[in-house]
Structure formats: structure tokens, C-alpha cells
Amino acid sequence: MILFEALYVAPPALTAQAPILVIAGPLIGACAAALSPGGRTAWMVSVLTAAFALWMAVAVAGEVAREGVIDYALGGFAPPMGIALRIDALGATMALLVASIGVMGALYSGHALESEVKAEKRTLFQSGYLLCLAGFLGLVFTGDAFNAFVFLEVSSIGTYALVAVGEARDRRALPAAFSYLIFGTVGATLYVLGVGFLYAATGTLNMVDMAMRLATLGDNSAVQAGLAFVVAGLGVKAAMFPLHGWLPGAYAGAPSLVSMFLAATATKAAIYLIIRFVFDVFPEGEFGEVFLSWILAPLAAAAVIICSVQAIFENEVRRILAFSSVAQVGFILLGVSLATPAGLSAGMFYLVAHALMKGALFMAVGAFAVSVRARTVEDFSGIAREAPWSAAAFGVGAASLAGVPLTMGFLAKWSLVSAALQAGEIWIVAVLAIGSLLTLIYVGRMLEVMFFRAPVRGAERAREAPVGVLAPLFVLAGLSLWFGVDATLPASMANASASALVGAAP
């Protein structure tokens, strides 16, 4: 975060209100997009709004770097009575990630939607997209447990609709969106129930206040049940194994832009909230430790192994990437479950790395989809000869996913392994190694088909995607490479996030 210390991007008066503007901007933009006369106008609204959110998020990050923690009382009602936004290094990092991906997605949507979303749906699509963005940004900023539920649902309701829009390309998007809605709502309801337990035990919804009161309560079964419900509910949204059943269908059916946005931000925001509850709200003690090392870690390990194997046996490229996402969530949670500063920092670093590489991969798939309707791995035969630039970006994302040196994925895996070694958890190192090998298998299969096979004879030929699609794709792929060489920025943000949680520099 040190890099942001000297960054004054907005006038002081604006910076003071930046926390709420980050959320309110996209909300207002969503209304404006819904009212705009055509898809083109809506797209411009979307790009401008996302850029504004990113600008404000950078302003907030600067303030956080200078002051540590920002408390913003909404409407002037002081916490713990009013709803408060509370932003620390972790929240600022997440907001920067979400807003950056949001800008890239908005730029990308200019051309990418044309092949995947019906013309009359594009204005409302942009509106839903901005609603999701507002929801995720609110989720990472809020300091109020119930407010988090509201933002969780604002974003989720948006994503259900966005996934269903994918019917224009593949009608399986509809049942997938429906089952996503069922799973997601059950998850959100469990979260509300958990918050209810915590509220009953503490009488407050403010997370800081709640943490203080929980610390004096000691062992209390209502509190423990509350945490269990909260984590189970958020686990559904985060696609934590074995609650990930909705994810492959939703990612495979949704428009590429939506898959990209969900993979890079939706599950990450839910993981953020799990981390927030486990490390910040819930008091340190035996229950938390048992939860981390006997529930979270084994489930994460199972996700890494089982879902990687599922990805290997899957035949549709989007579904391979989706199963891979569940496995990668496992990698992130393995780092978190170590509960050491190094482990948390590695988990956060992995989270950013995965957002960038999976974003690039889904964007590249969308770039191919501009000209051909390719679905299975075989459909992508020799596509590197027909659309070399998109394929190159796909290759970079895939290399980062597999952990090839000089990519961000390599550094992310490296820091996870060293954190696990430092904590003396050899079995986690073994799981990481096996998971990486399995990743190499399914990534290698996709790359082999794309780069080294001849195109299927008689099949429709792919064309290179327009610049508007390639530019954001190259930014994400380029960042995966750049941070693989010079990781100062993401590493310092991950370290600052970890020390904001456990209070010690790794």
C-alpha cells in the first residue's frame, strides 16, 4: 500500500466522500444505463461509471495508505448506531481489484456483447452489470453485517439476471441461472440467519462493535452456530467446495463477459467476507482454530484435488475453466487456512493473480466467440492460426494458471508453498504440488489443441476479434506477465491486507 501513500488523485473534498461515491456512482449509473435510449449510450454510461468508481477507489486507497483505516458514517449517524463503511487495507485492495476488473469488463462489453447478447437486452444488461459492480464494491467497504447481506443480494440478483441473458448463445444458461438463484438465495438466507444469531448474542450489527462484544462472551454456542451459518452461507456464494454445484453451469452458460466478471470478482468478494468474519469479527480462540484447520483446510484441499480432476475429464472449454475456478478457490482458502501473516498474504496475492488470469482466459474465450461458436476443446483446434492475438492472450492466462515461471501464477504458487512450509504444514505443500500438476494436465490439453493442431476441415473459420475486445484482454494478460516479473504492487497490497487482519508484518 506504500505506493499509494503519495497518491492524491482527487481534491480533498471529493476524497472525503469517496467511500460512498464508490458505491453510489455505479448505483446511479445503473439507473442511467437502464434509461438510456440504446445499447451504445448504455455502454458509454457503463464505461464512464466504472472509470469513476475506479478513480474513487484509488482515492480511497490513497487515504487508507495514509491513515490506516477509514470510518465513514453514512448519513452522519455515528457507529455503532448508524451504518458505517469501514475500509482497511484489505477492503481497499479488494475495491481496487473489483473496480479495475469492472472497467476492463465495461470496455470489453462494447463489442463482445454483440455476438452473445440480443440487441434489445443490451441497455438493461449494462444496468445489471453496474448493479453488480455497486454490490461488490459495497460488500468490500461496509462495516455492518446486515448491510453486507443487502449488498450481497444486490450483486447476486444482478448476476442471476446476467447469467440468464446468456440464453442467446446457449439456452442451458436459463436452468443454470435458475439453480444459481436457488443456491445463492439459500446461501444468503443462511447468512442472514447466522447474522441473526450473532445479533441475538451481541445486540449489535456493526462488525467492530460485534468483535469487541464477542471477545468478552467466551464460549457461546449461539455465537458458534452463528459463525457456522455465516460461513456456510457465504461458502455457497464463494463456491467453496462442496457448495459449488451452481458454478460450472452458470459460468458455462453466461455470456463470456459475465463469466469473466463473476470469476474475477463475485467469488472473491464472498471469500473476502468469509476472511473478514473469521479473522476480524470472530474472537481468536480454539473454535476458530479448529474451524480453520479441520474444516476450511480439508475442504479447500478436496476442492483443489477433486475439481482439478473434474476439469481434466470435462470436454467443454468454459466448463473446464469453471471447474478450475473452484479448484483455485481451494488454493486461496488453503493459504487463508494457515492463519499466519504469510499465509493470508499468499492467499490474497493468489486471489489477485487468479482474478487477472481467469479474467484473461474468459475474455479470450469471449474473443473467439465473436466469430465462431466453439464449445468443446476439439472445436478450438488450430484456433491459434486463425486468431493469433486472442490465442496468445489465452496462452498467457493459461500459463499463469499452470504456474509457469515469469507469470504471476508462478509467484502466487511460490508464496503459497513458502507460507505452508513456514507454518510447517507439509501436507498442504503436497496438495499444492498435486493440484499444480493436475492444472498442468488440463491447461496443457487446451493449449495443445489450440496451438499445435490443424483446424478441423470444413469447419467455420475464426477471425481475429476487434481491437475493442483485444485491448482489455491484453491489459489483463499483460498484467499477469508484468506482475510475474515485478510484483511490488500486488505483493505490498497483499502484505498490507494480511497485516490489517492479523496485525503483524509478514
Partner: protein
């Protein structure tokens, strides 16, 4: 048994929740699933409202001691109680859970409407709202041709 009597409101919430969950996962009909989901969500409303209820408490509207409402209320209440807490010192129920659940209900309505509209679109695309039949069609879709038009 004693617990079952004193906590029957929570028990009702749990029973309602389980009914909702059972409906949700036992039927293949998408509309019935939405009904189950609505039940499931509503049970948390009952849970929250129960939390906020204070025995003998009234709605959280400020009553001033010398107003006619306060005198009317004092006439209904136990005189010993009024003696202890004063005429205007009515016990209020906790209003916060009501506010929270109002928000949750709005969220629930939004989810329900999105879910039902997706069900309508499914009916248009597949001609059925039975999960089994949809899956059969989806399997055919999955086996469908590669690079199409």
C-alpha cells in the same frame, strides 16, 4: 418439553424452514421450488421478529407520560409494574429486527420475481418447467454439434 413451550416461536421458525427446504429439494417443478424458497426465506423473518419481541413490550412508538395514550395504556398494564417503571416507562419491543426484516422481505420479493421470470423464460425456451424434462433436453444440447453457424 419446557424448552419446547418457552421457545415455540423458534421451533416454529425451524419447522417452517425445514418445510421450505424440503419443498425446495423434493420437487422438480420450478414454480413449486420458488414456493419452497419463499417459505425458507420467510422463516428467517419469523426468527428475527421473535428475537426483537420483549415480553409485555409494545410497538416502538414513543409514548409521553402525560398523554391520553399513556393513561389508556397504564390502565391495561399491571399496576405494580406501572408503579415500578412509571406511567410512560412502557417496555418497547426492539424495533431494529423489524427494520432489518423489512429489508430482507424486499430482497426476498426481488429474488422471487427474478426467479419467476427466469422460470417463464425457461418455459418459453424448453416448453416445460419440470427439472427432469429440462435436463433431458439439455443433455441433447450438450451432445449437439461443435462449431455451428
Amino acid at each position: 418439553m419446557n424448552v419446547a413451550v418457552t421457545h415455540f416461536n423458534y421451533l416454529a421458525a425451524v419447522v417452517l424452514m425445514m418445510i421450505g427446504l424440503y419443498v425446495l429439494f423434493s420437487t422438480g417443478n420450478l414454480i413449486k421450488r420458488m414456493i419452497g424458497l419463499a417459505l425458507f426465506q420467510t422463516s428467517t423473518a419469523l426468527f428475527y421478529i421473535s428475537l426483537g419481541k420483549v415480553s409485555g413490550g409494545t410497538a416502538a412508538i414513543r409514548i409521553y407520560a402525560d398523554s391520553p395514550e399513556a393513561r389508556a395504556l397504564a390502565a391495561q398494564l399491571d399496576p405494580a409494574y406501572v408503579q415500578q417503571f412509571g406511567v410512560g416507562g412502557v417496555v418497547y419491543s426492539n424495533p431494529l429486527p423489524h427494520v432489518l426484516i423489512l429489508t430482507a422481505i424486499v430482497v426476498g420479493v426481488a429474488t422471487l420475481s427474478v426467479g419467476l421470470s427466469i422460470a417463464v423464460r425457461i418455459r418459453e425456451a424448453y416448453g416445460t418447467v419440470e427439472a427432469g424434462e429440462i435436463e433431458a433436453v439439455a443433455r441433447v444440447d450438450a451432445a449437439g454439434a461443435g462449431r455451428g453457424p
